[in-house]
Each structure stands twice: as structure tokens, then as C-alpha cells.
């Protein structure tokens, strides 16, 4: 059994919070650059150019790419042969606290959803644990802004709705999100499972790099088709009209019940932040 000290978790999480909020990965930069070259609207082209400029300033001057530095969402894969010294959840939250306070990131979390007092350190994080083989810990952070989070939806479809129903659900969520979700957006979709499982899958789909498709052939084709269809909506960069509404559509699936077809659509803005570390 391998032992990992919680100090290492804290330091790693802190670094991940700061990195994810100041630097986007190459896949996102490439997608924005490609969109800039193909965008048909002149306002849209100008917005995409400014988004690239924004990324440059963010990295050079260490100003967060977006002021909404998100609620810190983690997917944690824990090898069954690793032992964490101390409390893992506490360590992740301590890393978030240090990352958001020391990294000049915005504190956007309220302690109670109705009383709404700011926790002032952006904790607690939302953490999804998964136990896997091996003796490593894999941490994925996706700081989630709420402009796009608020436009996300769950649809409890009937089996008879089939793939056409799933397509309609995805398109309608993207259309309703419109300018609110800071397009061009990345659309994460979870199909199958249960009510909560499809939502978590949709969120996890938003940790997949742009350009990486599903291993399942028909799902990969559906991703492509939905990407093309969403870009026909005309919403465009900033919602001000154009041919670039989505940068990607990522779909995850899971077995489901004979009576159901749950579909979750989690929308992410163009500030598609994710960062992975293995300890």
C-alpha cells in the first residue's frame, strides 16, 4: 500500500486552481484559432480575436481568464492500493482555499443556497470520487462558471423518444443557452444511467479535451452531427450572430433502465478550463 501525504494533495490542488484559471490548454486555443479563421460574421471574428488577446493577457499578466473563477469541481480517481495520510476531502478543500486566496481568484461560493453568505475562500469544492485499480491518485479540476452552468438541463426522456429525442434535447439546450452561456460553448452531454448519473456524466464530458471523440462509433458520429447542427443556429460568438456557436460536443453514455432515457446537457463557455495531475 502506497502512502500519500495530504500536504502533497494540498499543494497540487492549489497549483491546479491557479493554473486552470490563468491558462487554457492547447486544444482550446487551437479550437478558438480555427473558429476565428472560419467565422462568417465580422463582429464574431472580432470577438474571437479579442478572446485570443484575452488569453494572452491572462497568462502574461496573471489575470484570471474570466472573473468568474468558478466553483471548483473535481473528479478524483483513487487507486485502491493508495492510502492518504489525513483526510482527502479536507486536503482538497484546503488546496482550493489556498489556491483561491493566494492566487487572487474570485470567491464565488455561498455557504447556504438560501441564506447566501459568502464563504470567502471558495470552499467547499464539489468532488466526485471514483475508486480504480492501482496506487495512484488522479485529480482533474474543472472550475465551473455559472453563466453557462445556469443554462444546463436534465431531460427524463422516454425510450420511445430514441436518438431523435436526444438530438432535440441537445439542440434545445444549446439554443436556450444562447448569449447567456458566453458562446462559443462546449456542450457536455450524459445519456443513460439515472437522474444523477447522467448529470455527472455530462459534467465529466466537459473535462475531455476538444477534438477527442467518444470511443463508441455511433456516439462519436452523434457528437459530430450535434456540433454541426448547433453551429447552424446562428447564435455566434457572444450570442451576437455568427457561424461559431459551439467549439465541441462531448457525449458520455452509460447503461440505463428499461423504462428510461435520461439526458443531461451541461453547457460550458469558451473558457473551457480543465487541468489534470497524477500523484
Amino acid at each position: 500500500m502506497r502512502t500519500v501525504k495530504s500536504d502533497i494533495i494540498i499543494e497540487t490542488v492549489k497549483e491546479m486552481c491557479i493554473e486552470a484559471n490563468h491558462f487554457l490548454s492547447q486544444d482550446v486555443k487551437d479550437a478558438l484559432d480555427n473558429a476565428k479563421n472560419t467565422e462568417k460574421s465580422s463582429i464574431g471574428k472580432d470577438i474571437l480575436t479579442k478572446l485570443e488577446e484575452n488569453l494572452k493577457i491572462a497568462g502574461e499578466d496573471m489575470i484570471p481568464v474570466c472573473q468568474d473563477t468558478g466553483m471548483a469541481v473535481f473528479f478524483v480517481e483513487i487507486g485502491q492500493d493508495v492510502h492518504v495520510e489525513g483526510n482527502l476531502t479536507d486536503a482538497i478543500n484546503e488546496g482550493v482555499r489556498r489556491g483561491y486566496v493566494d492566487g487572487f481568484l474570485r470567491k464565488s461560493v455561498v455557504k447556504d443556497p438560501l441564506i447566501r453568505e459568502n464563504t470567502k475562500d471558495n470552499t467547499p469544492a464539489v468532488i466526485h470520487y471514483n475508486i480504480v485499480e492501482g496506487d495512484k491518485i488522479k485529480l482533474t479540476i474543472a472550475p465551473k462558471g455559472f453563466g453557462s452552468e445556469n443554462m444546463s438541463k436534465v431531460f427524463m426522456l422516454k425510450p420511445a423518444d430514441g436518438i431523435e429525442g436526444v438530438k432535440k434535447a441537445i439542440i434545445s439546450a444549446a439554443k436556450d443557452a444562447g448569449p447567456n452561456a458566453c458562446p462559443p460553448m462546449v456542450v457536455g452531454v450524459g445519456v443513460g444511467g439515472t437522474f444523477e448519473k447522467c448529470a455527472i456524466m455530462a459534467k465529466q464530458a466537459l473535462t475531455r479535451p476538444i477534438g477527442v471523440h467518444s470511443d463508441i462509433e455511433y456516439v462519436a458520429e452523434l457528437e459530430e452531427e450535434m456540433f454541426t447542427e448547433i453551429n447552424k443556429l446562428g447564435i455566434g460568438p457572444g450570442g451576437l450572430g455568427g457561424s461559431t456557436t459551439a467549439l465541441a460536443v462531448n457525449i458520455n453514455t452509460y447503461p440505463t433502465h428499461i423504462a428510461g432515457l435520461p439526458v443531461a446537457v451541461n453547457i460550458c463557455c469558451h473558457v473551457y478550463r480543465h487541468c489534470v495531475r497524477e500523484i
Partner: protein, 183 residues
């Protein structure tokens, strides 16, 4: 069309702005978002004064990230305007002339914009680092305890926005999408 204007904005200048115009704003604007709007609404209910003179002024729906040393503000892009819709018609009727945000507005806000000759501008969502460069000074003037949601008086220089809903009720979010929609 590119236009350069000063804030506060006169009724005449507001009337001259058209949906789709790129506008560079210089002068003083105020940041306020969800929690500050709730407080302003409660202040009005209690017959109290608003923390700043709203007539002719512009509210920027924005809650910045903390500033690093030597800088006036951190990342400072727009938040979704629709969450303020519940409070907005009252503020427009009191003389609020402009709003900077992103995203759709309700019919009530749309009507209040037309009724009062106001303007709804969009700034580029998710470009907070770039937009912060147009903010030269920032000072919390009310509700300090709200942290990022406090009301800030901002001095801006050529702050770039696009007119979405103009004083005549033209709405770029509707017209532009029609233009690029492919069936």
C-alpha cells in the same frame, strides 16, 4: 458603427446609439450584481436613498476577481444580465440610462428600456482579463461586506461594448441570429 461616448450618458447620446454599434465608453460607471441589486431594491422599499445617483448612470453587471498589487482591479468581465431583470425596470424608471452585461433580458426590461430611452450594452463574456485593462480606477462605494458583489465606482477609458437593445427597442440578439441561422 464605432462610437466614443462619455458616462454618465445623456438622453440625447443614448438616443443616438443603435443596436449593433460598437461603443467605447469613458468616464464613470458603477458595478453591481445580484446581491447589490437585492440591497438596492430593499433600500427603495424602505424609502432609503440608493448608494449613488442613478440618473444618467450606467450599471456594469460585474463582480471582479481580486486585484494584484499595483493594479486597479482583477479580471472584470460581464455577468449574465437576466438575473437582475427582477430589479431593473424600477431602476430604469428612476433614471438608470445604461446597463452593461451579457445575455437575454425579459420583456419587462425591454419595455422599460424603450419607455425610458435607455440602452443595454453587451461586453464580451469571458474576456475579463482584456476588459480589466480599460478600467483605470476602482473604489468600493457601498456594501463592502458583499466582497466581489459590493458596488464599485469605476473609472473607465474606452471600455468596449456593443449595443444590444437600443432606445427604440431594436434587439441585436434577435436580429443577428436570424442573419446567420442556417436551416
Amino acid at each position: 458603427m464605432d462610437k466614443y461616448i462619455n458616462a454618465p450618458i445623456s438622453k440625447e447620446v443614448a438616443a443616438d446609439l443603435r443596436s449593433g454599434d460598437t461603443v467605447y465608453i469613458s468616464g464613470t460607471i458603477y458595478s453591481a450584481r445580484d446581491a447589490a441589486h437585492l440591497r438596492m431594491s430593499n433600500a427603495l422599499k424602505n424609502g432609503e436613498e440608493l448608494p449613488f445617483d442613478i440618473v444618467g448612470n450606467v450599471i456594469y453587471y460585474m463582480g471582479p476577481s481580486p486585484s494584484r498589487e499595483g493594479r486597479p482591479i482583477g479580471s472584470a468581465g460581464p455577468t449574465t444580465a437576466g438575473r437582475m431583470d427582477k430589479y431593473t425596470p424600477q431602476l430604469l424608471d428612476l433614471g438608470l440610462r445604461g446597463m452593461i452585461g451579457k445575455g437575454k433580458r425579459t420583456q419587462d426590461v425591454y419595455e422599460a428600456i424603450k419607455r425610458n430611452g435607455a440602452v443595454y450594452f453587451a461586453a464580451i463574456g469571458g474576456a475579463g482579463a482584456l476588459l480589466s485593462k480599460a478600467i483605470k480606477k476602482s473604489e468600493v462605494i457601498a456594501y463592502d461586506d458583499l466582497g466581489t458583489e459590493a458596488i464599485r465606482k469605476l473609472e473607465v477609458e474606452n471600455f468596449p461594448v456593443i449595443v444590444v437593445i437600443d432606445s427604440e427597442g431594436n434587439n441585436l440578439y434577435e436580429t443577428a441570429i436570424e442573419e446567420f441561422k442556417m436551416d
